[in-house]
Symmetry: D3
Subunit: 276 residues, 6 copies
């Protein structure tokens, strides 16, 4: 027997897994930023939105620590308290962060324009929908409840609380695949707005799509986006697109309107025997 047989998937996309904030809800991924800024304000420290956003994608406690280590923030803290930030300070701020985020979330759970239409188009093709998030369970549930009211109900939703290690590990995606009993990985598409979203898709071996304009890498709320001069906005979106492409995204779209076309393109690649 001198022959090998190489199996390749020639079917179609069966499952699309979406991130929540910045991808399907919360244009510009504002909620955690606002919560971080508010958390520091409660401690008497003013931080800018840019500072609040910079460590985005890290685990939330590590995110808080990273902000406290910025030169200006560290100086402000010392001025306020006469001593550097301690581990207890960070624990305290993290404990405060949870209720703060939960309180803020309902105001930041509006579906991003184009999401409903994109999901409807996928549904029509019989594609199943999963939702994953870096949020802990209550935050995820809050967002999901708000989205359901607006008509977006994924078949399965998993939060970071349900896995030992969060993104960029691929475990959220694998759990959703298992729950819906959909395999192989080549039949699955992951869609997210951050570098760690893109990397979790790559680590899972699925198709990994980045969303540039509405998410964390551009970092503008819907209102900010609307009032930013076109050239500046395009530059911000282009920089976000480049960042996601450099992370290895198979494709990057500006907004969800482009998603059905990308799925069609992936179906074409699968038909030619390509894999992610």
């Amino acid at each position: 027997m001198d022959y090998n047989y190489t199996r390749s998937y020639h079917g179609r996309v069966q499952l699309v897994v979406f991130d929540w904030a910045g991808t399907t809800v919360d244009f510009g991924c504002q909620a955690p930023i606002v919560a971080f800024a508010e958390g520091f304000r409660q401690k008497g420290i003013e931080i800018s939105m840019a500072q609040a956003r910079e460590p985005m994608g890290r685990e939330k406690r590590a995110h808080i620590r990273a902000i406290t280590e910025m030169d200006e923030v560290a100086r402000a803290w010392e001025a306020q308290y006469g001593r550097p930030v301690s581990g207890e300070d960070i624990d305290e701020m993290f404990d405060d962060f949870v209720p703060l985020l939960l309180r803020i979330l309902p105001d930041h759970s509006q579906l991003i324009p184009g999401v409903s239409e994109a999901i409807a188009s996928l549904r029509e093709q019989g594609i199943r929908i999963g939702a994953s998030t870096g949020y802990f369970r209550e935050a995820a549930d809050t967002v999901a409840a708000a989205a359901a009211v607006q008509g977006y109900r994924p078949d399965v939703a998993i939060s970071s609380s349900e896995v030992a290690v969060g993104r960029p590990a691929p475990w959220l995606i694998y759990r959703i695949m298992e729950e819906l009993n959909i395999h192989p990985a080549a039949a699955v598409v992951n869609v997210g707005d951050t570098v760690v979203d893109v990397e979790s898709g790559l680590n899972a071996g699925v198709w990994s799509i980045g969303v540039a304009a509405t998410g964390n890498e551009t970092g503008l709320s819907a209102e900010e986006f609307a009032r930013t001069p076109t050239a500046e906005r395009q530059a911000l979106v282009a920089a976000a697109r480049e960042k996601l492409l450099r992370a290895g995204a198979h494709q990057v779209i500006d907004t969800m309107e482009e998603l059905p076309g990308v799925i069609e393109c992936i179906n074409g690649q699968l038909g030619r025997g390509c894999s992610p």
Copy 2:
């Protein structure tokens, strides 16, 4: 930004997942066969080992039903009971199968020759070891306990009871990867002796290796293997090898002695940017 960046894993194998029966213990994958035969014997029906083995790889209840549907077995049943097999009969036989298998297992949990050395070689390279099985939890625990006594202790062991859908779905492999926090799939190798083992590896997107001589597809116990004339034995092993290759195995080895060489070869392929 007109560039795409295609990420590829250039590291080494970090995890090998082994099947139990026929791969690391129970030369020839005898235990379930013996249990099925004994189960039918208790019902007053004699079946051959070949008949007992034929549906191998299916879920155990489906396996029993498949045996009852063989022409000769069906006739024997009708001769014995004056009626065809009913769903209740199959339920009953399945309920009997569980304690029967558990009783038989300790006699069929000897490590297959070469396994200790292969595992030791992988350990030396820092490779983690996982164990998966189509057995339910108690059977898996029984085998694991017996193997531990002989010095084989995988880092993680998962049984079919822990996932909603068994092989060839990839969930067992994904759970082991998650437990050990090892990704991407290209860093993982699955080793098994059946077509469904090979397919579960492919479905997981990991490297999928088949073992031909010591497992279910050759289907000889260590003693039978030793006393079978060389030419006949070679023909049986060649047929087993072909069956596993036709399932899409990346490589098929006769015995575990060849495994370290195959891992080295996979490391070479990873170094050239290949993926499973």
Copy 3:
């Protein structure tokens, strides 16, 4: 860090570099042939157009020497002068060749049919146009001036005088890319009618397109082309096409009318991540 990132260009064609004689002007690449034949006639030696054309593509002095080494020409020379050709003879003929070519060029600088339309189509897509040539500077300038009158004005034109080593070295193409600041090579297409044109494109790592019917490999002037019987003409063009394909051309077109389609096809290949 166990990952490599392979960058690939997914943009579109940004620059097309055209050869002059036989590609955009001078149907059949007649000017140098006529000049060579006239040069030998001035020495009292009649050579055929086929003999004049055979060494085409070589540097002009080497071209003259190659003609003198043909058996019949060598015999004719000895008959005329009573001695073999000397290095001084060749120098002299080369010195005569320059003004001769310059005098003849204006009569052989008509745009080849279809060139204007092809260039217009590329311009509409925002593609920049470069012109390269094996001619020395004055000859190149003469041709360019004549072409400009007919409406064809490349963004940059470079002659062999500006580089140390002529085609098939890729320096002319690289200079044009630098002048227009266009990279990478995958965004550039080279178009020419000779084997050395094709090879200069391959050596530059750009897309290399051959033109078969209107250039040197078919070797018919527009009038000759029109009056050659169809079957014979097709055979000549097919032979030219084969010669350019065997040189490694990515694609060979008969006439410039096919160019926009080829550019579209290359854009498609770039979109699928292919490179030249």
Copy 4:
């Protein structure tokens, strides 16, 4: 003629182009950093080495402007001068930067350990050596003169002054190839320590190698490197390696000692018909 012929280069590496600072001389790429810091000090502004290095790789005037736009530097400037930085200020600082760098360079032109041996090994294989740099001509000449004294004399050296647009454009590499008449691009290797070096190699279509430990991305002088605790040093080098890999480098080496092995590996890839 229904056949295409795809040409591929099966020869060996013929030319290696090295960057200067951080790659072959000036361990840690200190000279421009020191000059920038000194330039600001002369204006009465203290900046950290990290601030001075951050915009590394940009054109020098843009580099200065980027430093002045950092929050703390901007505040210090306003405190010092009672007004924001003006275009004239930047022009002035750039004019001062040139003599400053030239004065400092001789102290930062020591060959990096391992460079002599690596070059000697390439020379033995008949490989030609080119040198390119982001420096302007006088700075490049100064460095080259100092290197020559230490025995490193590239066959061709080109500075940014000789091309219209600097890195990551590929023009420096193309000019060196032309000067030495070496093509195709697959026969050429570019070696540098910054992301723009890596990208200039990719843009040229040559093999692009990054050097992690001794260059700008690690950013430690030889002395700093020696006295940094091993774990921290390894983390810095690993981060530098990742940055260069993410830019698309075909391979990243820690130090020049690994270069001959990498060249051998590229020769192997060329032998198998691979291209950069």
Copy 5:
């Protein structure tokens, strides 16, 4: 000379080779099955259609032996004759098989629906038609004569009698290519309904297409096919399709109606430089 040139066929499909029974005539590949069953009946042994079909694809004498070795058949034989089957018995049955098949064939030579239209479509594109078969010459001639009456006349028809070794060896396909002087293999498509058909195509290096619904792997006559409930029929066809795909078929079609589309698809792949 450091360049290799890889030739690839960019032409179109020039020849399609069809199997006879189950592919172009004899819906469900009934004739040999009926003949085998009748042969055993004449010996006083009743075998089922499933038993008669199981060894399908083997040489006819080996096919007969395989049936006699089935447990139930062996037992029936012993009950009938009081001794096991001998070599002479098999010879005798084979000798009887030939006239039996020839007698039966005319009733099983009807063109399968869709064949005429598919052939007509290929003819329009100038594609030549070959016919190969596992039948011996007289059987092949009988079928060909019947097909001719119905309007299907391949340019060349070859039977197994004309080659030393039958399928899955590729000799029948090579003989047809030679007869029509058509090469290379990439310009040829083989179409058949059995695993050995598919493998003979692969062994010849041509494009290998399987036909699932009308052939031996589904194994239903046109009437049986029509009256089988849809779900059961779909399951049978799906199983046949899977079997042919697992054999390595480049594509599997249900019925001949899909063939022109597949040929178009192969032309597209050839245009992109792919080979079988």
Copy 6:
């Protein structure tokens, strides 16, 4: 069933097919040249060896016609006979060519140095040996008989008389494969010294190896080869090598000594799943 299975040959080379003249016997491929020259001499026309060799590879009658169409030969013919060459002249010369070649062959059937050793090395690996030739049957038999005396006895030898269309059609190779029942094409290597040899291998889909130094493209007899100055000889061999590479040969060797290494290299490629 959404999976395709791509079969690939992972075995080893099983058959090598050698051309006769210029490859295994008759260093420099002299016999037909000498016969052509002698044939013209008998007509009173002196032609050079270069003229006699130029059309090499064409069918013999076409070869003769091609010589008569060379300018000088045509003039000499007219001078001799007062009229151009007629079809009857060519028929006559072809009829004379057969006995002439047969008479000359025994003097040109010496094994080329290195052939015995190369064949012995292949035999040791269990590789079968085939011989094909453009000669008609009697010429082929004459050469084979002479080779047998010297110890070279291929397992099968086929002449052009046995196929309808000669090289570059692949029929000779296919017939040898059939005779020895060896497939697939990936297990076969063709070795020859002319462009049509190389193309017949490509057309058969087997590995196609060219021999440069000892064959028709270099065109020197063993004595001429020995006495030609090294530089000139190297240039001739390099030109021959380039010609065979440009025809698409997978590899070109100078002499048969390199063959076992090339076979080993092909075995390596097969092991990596590559095909010709």
